[in-house]
Amino acid sequence: MIKFILLVNKQGQTRLSQYYDYLSIPERVALEGELIRKCLSRTELQCSFMEYRQYKVIYRRYASLYFIVGVDSEGENELSILEFIHTLVETLDKYFENVCELDIMFNLEKAHFILDEMVVNGCILETNKTNILGSIYLMEKASQ
C-alpha cells in the first residue's frame, strides 16, 4: 500500500502532500524534512529506493522537484511505483501543459483532485491519462 505521496522541492519546501495513514502535523514536518535531506544526499547514479523507518521510499527527481512515494516495507513492486510516479508527472504535465513547480503550488486543490482520481486508499486506481483528465474536465464544468 502507498502510505504517502510527497512533492518536495530542492529547498525542502513541500509542494504537495497526501498521506494515506494518519500522521500528526509535527510528525509530517519531520518526515518530509528528513526525506528530502536523504534524497538530496544521493546522486543520480544511485538507485531510486531508500529504506526509511518502516517505509520503503521510492523517489524520482523532475527538475527541481522531488516526487517521493512511501510504501510499506514489503508488498509493493518498487519498479511499478517508479513507473507510477512517471505516469503521475505525465498526467500533471498534460493537464497543466508543461507543468512546473509553481503550477502545482498555485493550483494545489487541482493537483489534489488529479491525484484523487489516480490513488484511493493507498491503491492505484487509474493510470490512463485520458480517463483521469476526462472526469476532471467534466467535474470542472460542473463546478462552474
Partner: protein
C-alpha cells in the same frame, strides 16, 4: 476583507524568514476564523482551500474542520468538492468531527450524480473510520454493482478499506469480486485485484473460494502480455500494455498459487510466457519481470520455471541500472529460503555489491549475504565480511558487525574459531559491538573451559596493542579478572615452544593504562563544572588518592555523553577484575588495593558503592572466605544452552586458524594467532572443576560446613547492604542484585540487570531459608538472572505436537507448541514462544488472540513484556484452548501483536490456521 488564495501564496513566498512566514500565516488564520465565525458562505470554499495550503506547510488547521462539513452539505458541486478535499486533508480518522459527516456521505453515496458518488467514495476510502465503514457498507456494496465503471472502481477500493477496518464485514464483498475480475475495464479489474489481495491477506481461508478464478485472470494477463498494441492503447507504456495491471494480476496469482500444486500448474504456461516475452529494456517491462519472478518463487512452480526465474534475477544482478540490481537483491533475499543452491551460484556477484557506493544496495546485499551463510561457507564468508568491515563507513559498521557475530554464533564450526573470529571483530570494530553480543561472547568463553588459557592470552595481547575499541577492552578486562591466574602461570607455550611468561605486574600495568586512557573531552561547560567539583571531592575524599588517580576516575564520568556510558561500564569491569585479581595475584594485593581505593570517590554511585564494598571485603575478617567469594564464575544456564551443540575445537598448539588472514591494515593485530599458538591445558585444579558443574559437585577443597558459612555470610552481607540498596542505584540493581554481583563478581550481571523484582524476591526467599546443605548455596549461585519459574505446569499426560511457526515477519517469529490434554481431548494448551531475530529489543510487547465462537480461549501473562533481540531468550506465553467442535472443525486463531521496536510503534496482524487437526 478576504484575500485570494494566490495572493496568500505570494505573501508567504515573499517571506524571508520562518518567523515572517509564521506571522503571515497567523494573521491569515485569524482572518479565516473570523470569516468562519461570521458564517461567510461566499468565501467559505476559498478559505478552506487556503487552509489546505497552510496545513501542507505544517501549521495547525483544526478550526477549519467544521467548515468542511458545511461545504460537504452544500448543494453546489464546487463547494462539495472542496469540502471533501478538506475532509480528507484536514481530518483524520480519529477526529470526532468525522462522526458528524456520516450522514452527508450517506446522502452523497445515494446521490443520482455519479461524480458526487465519486467524491464521497474517494473521501470514505481515504479516511473512513470503523463506525463510518459499518454504517455505509451497504451503500458501497450497491455501488460496486452499478454500470458506471468510474463508480465501480472507486467502490471496490472503498470496500477494501472497509474490510481492513471492520472485522465482521470481511466477507461482505466477496460475492462482488468475481464480477470485478471479469470486468473489461482495466481500472475496475485493477481495483478488483487490489480488493481480492486484501481479502486473501486478511482471511487466507478464502483462498479455496477464489482459486477457480485463476483461468479468468490468466486470460486477462495473456491478452495484455501477448497483444501489446492491439489492446487498449491508452494504457500503453513504452510498448507494454498496462504494466500496473499486469503486476497486480501476477501478485494475485502469487497468492492463489501458493500452496497448491494444481493451481500452480495451471499458471505455469502463462508465467513462462510473461517471463520470456516481456521486453526488459524499459522500467515498465522490468517491473513485470520482477513481479513475475516473485510469483514463480512463491508458488509451487516446476523446476524449469524456477530456473527461468533465477536466470532473470541473475540478469538483473548484472544490470548496470542500480534500481534493477536493488530489486534483484530484494528478491534474492526471499529466494534464499526457497532455493539456496540457485542463489549460491551468484554469491560472488552479491558479495561484490557490498562494495557499492549506494547504501541502499549495500544494505540489501548484506542481508542476502547474511542469509547465504551456512555451515559450509561460514569461514570464507566471514573472511569476506571482515574484509568489508575494514572499509565500511561508520553508519554501516554496526549492522555489519551484528550480522557477522550472529552468523558466527549460528554456524561456527568450533569454539576456538568462534572465539578467534569474535575477538577479531572486536579488534576491528569494537566500538560498534552491541552489548548483547559482548555478553554473548562472555557466555561462550565461560562455557568453554578448555580454551580459557588460550582466550585470556589472546585477549591480553590484543588489548595491549589496541586500546581504542571499547568492547574489546571490556571483554579483555573481564577475562583478566576471571582467568588472570592462567595468564601468569606460564603454562602456555608459544609457537617457538617457549613458555609465554606474563608477570602479574604486567597485567596490572595494562589495567592501569586502560584506566588512565584520556577520554574524549567534548564536555559542555556545565559538565566541566561538575567535573571540577568532583575532582575536589575526589582529592579531599581519600587521603591516599593521588591527584592523577582522582582525575582519571572522574574523567570517565565527565567524558562525552555517549562514550561516558561505555567508559563507565569499562570502569565497572575494571573494579571487579581488580578485586578478583587479589586472590589470583596474592603478591600484588597492596598495589591492587591502591588502585581500588580511588574508586571509592567515584562520581558513579554504582562504582563508588562497589569499591567501598570491595574495600570491606579485603579486610582480614574475610580472609578465609575471600577465595570462595572471588572464585571463577560458574558457567550459567544460558552459557550451557549456548554451547551444548558444538565442539570446542582444536585447542592444541599448532593449529593455525584459517582465518588468520593478512589484511593490509590491522594485519599485525590479527596475526596474533600465528604469534601465539598457545598450548591449552586443562585449568589447574580447584575452582575450575566446580565451576563447570556447579549443580552437581561441591568444591573438593572446601569443607561442607564452609558452605553453610558462606550462606551466613550472604545473609549477613545482605543485612549490611540493605541501607545502600535504598539509594537510587543507577543500574536499577536492587540490594540483592548487588549482593549477587559481589559474590559472583561478574560485571556481566551488572550490565544485564535481571528482571529485578522477581529475581530479587526469589533470591531473598532462598536466602531466608535455613542453611542446610552445600547444594543450596550453589543453587543460589546458579539462580542468578534466570527469570521467574514457568507459570503453571502443563497438564500431565496428553499428546504433544511438533512446534510450528505461527507468524514470521520483520524479525519476529512466533512458534506454537500444542499439547492436547490427556483426559479431555477438547482441551489443549499452546505454548507460544516469541523470538526476536532483529538487533533491537521489542518492548511493550503485547500478544492478543481471537478465536471462532466454538473455541474458548484463556491466556496466562507472558513471561516478559520485552522480547530480547538476536533471538537469544524467547519470551513465552501459555494459551489454553477448549475446542467444543473438536474433531469437526480445526482451531483457527487471529492474532494481533503490538510492540515498540527502535522507538517505533508496530502493530501486526496474522492468522494461524496450521493447528494440528486433532485439536
Amino acid at each position: 476583507m478576504s484575500i485570494k488564495l494566490r495572493e496568500l501564496i505570494r505573501n508567504i513566498r515573499a517571506c524571508k524568514t520562518a518567523a515572517e512566514e509564521r506571522a503571515v500565516i497567523a494573521k491569515e488564520c485569524a482572518e479565516i476564523r473570523t470569516a468562519f465565525k461570521e458564517e461567510d458562505n461566499h468565501y467559505r470554499h476559498r478559505n478552506v482551500a487556503k487552509l489546505l495550503f497552510i496545513h501542507m506547510l505544517g501549521y495547525p488547521t483544526h478550526f477549519g474542520q467544521m467548515e468542511c462539513l458545511k461545504l460537504i452539505a452544500s448543494t453546489k458541486f464546487a463547494e462539495k468538492r472542496v469540502g471533501y478535499l478538506g475532509l480528507t486533508q484536514l481530518l483524520d480518522e480519529n477526529t470526532e468531527v468525522l462522526m458528524l459527516v456520516t450522514n452527508s456521505v450517506k446522502n452523497d453515496l445515494n446521490h443520482p450524480n455519479q461524480y458526487v458518488n465519486g467524491l464521497a467514495l474517494c473521501a470514505l476510502g481515504n479516511i473512513g473510520n470503523p463506525e463510518m465503514c459499518r454504517a455505509l457498507a451497504r451503500e458501497v456494496e450497491n455501488l460496486m454493482g452499478v454500470s458506471n465503471p468510474y463508480i465501480r472502481k472507486k467502490a471496490a477500493l472503498c470496500a477494501m478499506r472497509m474490510i481492513r477496518k471492520v472485522e465482521e464485514i470481511e466477507d461482505k464483498f466477496n460475492h462482488k469480486i468475481p464480477t470485478l475480475l471479469e470486468d473489461r475495464n482495466h481500472a475496475v479489474l485493477l481495483s478488483g485485484c487490489a480488493l481480492l489481495i486484501t481479502v486473501l491477506e486478511i482471511n487466507p481461508s478464502a483462498l479455496s473460494e477464489f482459486r477457480r478464478y485463476v483461468p479468468t485472470l490468466i486470460r486477462a494477463l495473456k491478452n495484455m502480455s501477448m497483444s501489446g498494441y492491439a489492446n487498449a492503447s491508452e494504457y500503453d507504456i513504452a510498448g507494454i500494455t498496462d504494466p500496473f495491471l499486469q503486476v497486480k494480476i501476477l501478485r494475485v496469482l502469487k497468492l492463489l498459487g501458493h500452496g497448491s500444486v494444481d493451481v500452480s500448474d495451471e499458471m505455469n504456461d502463462i508465467l513462462a510466457q510473461v517471463a520470456t516475452n516481456t521486453e526488459g529494456a524499459k522500467n515498465a517491462g522490468n517491473a513485470i519481470l520482477y513481479e513475475c519472478v516473485q510469483t514463480i518463487m512463491n508458488i509451487e512452480a516446476e523446476s524449469g520455471l524456477r530456473v527461468l526465474g533465477v536466470n532473470i534475477l541473475g540478469r538483473f544482478l548484472m544490470n548496470r541500472d542500480n534500481n534493477i540490481r536493488y530489486v534483484a537483491l530484494t528478491t534474492l533475499q526471499h529466494v534464499v529460503t526457497v532455493d539456496m543452491k540457485a542463489v549460491q551460484r551468484h554469491r560472488s556477484t552479491i558479495v561484490d555489491c557490498l562494495k557499492d557506493p549506494d547504501v541502499s544496495i549495500r544494505k540489501r546485499a548484506l542481508d542476502v549475504t547474511y542469509a547465504l551463510i551456512n555451515e559450509e561457507n561460514i569461514k570464507t564468508m566471514t573472511k569476506e565480511l571482515l574484509n568489508f568491515l575494514l572499509m565500511a563507513g561508520p553508519e554501516f559498521k554496526e549492522d555489519l558487525v551484528t550480522k557477522i557475530c550472529l552468523a558466527v554464533d549460528r554456524f561456527a564450526p568450533n569454539r576456538r574459531w568462534q572465539i578467534d573470529t569474535l575477538i577479531k571483530v572486536m579488534c576491528l570494530a569494537g566500538n560498534f559491538v552491541q552489548t548483547q553480543i559482548r555478553d554473548n561472547f562472555i557466555y561462550v568463553v565461560m562455557a568453554t573451559p578448555e580454551l580459557h588459557t588460550y582466550t585470556v592470552h589472546k585477549l591480553f595481547f590484543s588489548v595491549k596493542e589496541n586500546q581504542t575499541q571499547e568492547t574489546l577492552i571490556q571483554v579483555g578486562i573481564w577475562c583478566l579478572g576471571e582467568f588472570g591466574d592462567l595468564l601468569v602461570s606460564g603454562s602456555a607455550v608459544g609457537p617457538d615452544q617457549q613458555p609465554i611468561k606474563v608477570s602479574p605486574s604486567e597485567v596490572l600495568d595494562l589495567i592501569e593504562t586502560i584506566d588512565r586512557r584520556p577520554t574524549e573531552q567534548t564536555i559542555g561547560a556545565s559538565v566541566m563544572g561538575k567535573t571540577a567539583a568532583a575532582g575536589a571531592a575526589g582529592s579531599s575524599g581519600g587521603g591516599a588518592n593521588s591527584a592523577g588517580g582522582g582525575g582519571s576516575g572522574v574523567g570517565g564520568v565527565g567524558s562525552a555523553v555517549q562514550s561516558a556510558n561505555s567508559a563507565l561500564v569499562t570502569q565497572e569491569y575494571i573494579i571487579t577484575t581488580l578485586m578478583k585479581l587479589t586472590t589470583r595475584f596474592p603478591n600484588e594485593v597492596p598495589r591492587i588495593r591502591g588502585l581500588l581505593e580511588k574508586y571509592s570517590a567515584s562520581m558513579s554511585l554504582e562504582i563508588q558503592q562497589r569499591a567501598c564494598e570491595y574495600e570491606q571485603l579485603l579486610g582480614n575478617t574475610w580472609d578465609k572466605l575471600r577465595e570462595g567469594i572471588l572464585d571463577r564464575m560458574p558457567a550459567s544456564e544460558r552459557a550451557k544452552t549456548l554451547t551444548t551443540d558444538r565442539p570446542s575445537g582444536d585447542a592444541s598448539i599448532d593449529e593455525v586458524p584459517t582465518t588468520a588472514n593478512h589484511h593490509p591494515k590491522g594485519g599485525d593485530l590479527l596475526d596474533l594467532n600465528d604469534l601465539l599458538d598457545l598450548d591449552t591445558r586443562p585449568a589447574p585444579p580447584g575452582g575450575a572443576v566446580l565451576n563447570s558443574h556447579p549443580a552437581t559437585q561441591t568444591s573438593p577443597h572446601k569443607p561442607s560446613t564452609g558452605g553453610g558459612d558462606l550462606l551466613d555470610l550472604l545473609g549477613g552481607l545482605g543485612g549490611e547492604l540493605a541501607p545502600s540498596a535504598g539509594a537510587p542505584a543507577p543500574t536499577a540493581a536492587s540490594g540483592l542484585d548487588a549482593l549477587a554481583d559481589l559474590n559472583l563478581g561478574g560485571p556481566t550481571l551488572n550490565s544485564h540487570p535481571p528482571p529485578a523484582a522477581a529475581a530479587a524476591t526469589a533470591a531473598a526467599a532462598d536466602a531466608a531459608r535455613p542453611p542446610s546443605t552445600g547444594g543450596d548455596i550453589l543453587d543460589i549461585f546458579g539462580g542468578t538472572p534466570s527469570p521467574a519459574s514457568p507459570p503453571t505446569a502443563p497438564p500431565a499426560g496428553g499428546k504433544s505436537f511438533p512446534p510450528f511457526t505461527a507468524f514470521d515477519k520483520n524479525g519476529l517469529q512466533i512458534t506454537f507448541t500444542c499439547k492436547q490434554d490427556g483426559s479431555d481431548p477438547k482441551r489443549s494448551t499452546v505454548e507460544a514462544s516469541f523470538v526476536n531475530t532483529s538487533t533491537d529489543a521489542m518492548s511493550a510487547f503485547v500478544f492478543e488472540a481471537a478465536v471462532p465462537k466454538y473455541v474458548t480461549l484463556s491466556m496466562d501473562p507472558a513471561s516478559a513484556s520485552v522480547v530480547e533481540p538476536f533471538g537469544l531468550t524467547p519470551t513465552t506465553q501459555r494459551i489454553s484452548l477448549v475446542n467444543s467442535a473438536q474433531g469437526e472443525k480445526p482451531i483457527m486463531m487471529k492474532i494481533r501483536i503490538s510492540y515498540t521496536h527502535k522507538d517505533q510503534q508496530v502493530q501486526e496482524f496474522g492468522q494461524v490456521s496450521d493447528f494440528p487437526k486433532e485439536l
